[in-house]
Symmetry: C2
Subunit: 135 residues, 2 copies
DNA sequence: TGTTGACTTAGAGCGCACTCACAGTTGGAG
DNA sequence: CTCCAACTGTGAGTGCGCTCTAAGTCAACA
């Protein structure tokens, strides 16, 4: 909750893991962790170093959106597996559709929470500074 | 993320911890945990059992809204301490104001994530079923 | 009055998502 | 060629928010 950059500026060349971390805002540790967890599969150099191209960076960006909206790692893995297996439309899409519904409900709830917090703030503004307080 | 009840129906009599759990949707274990953590302070019977009145139930409801919008336990504790100390307006209100700003930013981000997910879904709909996939 | 189920506290355990530490390998500037 | 910084995998550690366990106390009905 709360970053600072807004949009990913994706370069056309291949990036090392730390460069990809800079670009995506996901730490190098976490990028490797995602790969270990099966969310991601990064091409390697001849000696085994990861190289992130535009496609991988976009994948990282999408994964981080799923994470930021509360999708658990294991569900993202299921999605990623489906996409890699070429059955994204059959098995991946339903996960996205379900997640979208969840997210929409979640947004509505958070809106309601925001309004309740606003009410509380207003209550503080309205009551006299020396009045005894509740909850 | 994702409950089922919408609004709290608060009774006027005093409730035991498990009855309060029923009403608030927060487990009895968690209610006790909140109290141990200092978020809550429930009146007791002569023999030490908790009794939740309307004020306590409303407090639980508000706490669960703060939790559901990502406020950490320790910050809620700071808020609760301020309110109990009678300095809610001076020390509690700023926490709520900061949290509201955070929440508003968070909502905007989640909206953006939703739109990105929608785009991805649309991409699945638009591309032919047998087309090779990406990311 | 006896028994059963709900209550009490304190502490341990769990699941998740990182995050770090370690030991060893590699790439590139000087 | 040397050397240092950055890379590698694996496993352990961390922080958070619950969630459960254990041992004991209490309420209330037959």
């Amino acid at each position: 909750m709360g970053e600072e950059e807004e949009v990913l500026n994706i370069p056309s060349d291949l990036l090392s893991v730390s460069a990809a971390a800079q670009v995506t805002g996901i730490s190098a540790h976490t990028l490797r962790y995602y790969e270990r967890a099966g969310l991601l599969q990064t091409p390697r150099t001849a000696t085994g170093q990861r190289r992130y191209g535009p496609a991988e960076l976009l994948a990282v960006e999408f994964i981080s959106r799923l994470r930021a909206t509360g999708m658990p790692i294991r569900v993202i893995k299921t999605y990623a597996d489906a996409v890699r297996a070429g059955s994204g439309r059959e098995h991946g899409l339903p996960l996205l559709l379900a997640h979208r519904e969840q997210l929409i409900r979640d947004l509505a709830q958070r809106q309601a929470h925001l309004e309740a917090i606003n009410s509380k703030i207003t209550a503080y503004r309205d009551c006299a500074p020396t009045t005894k307080e509740r909850s």
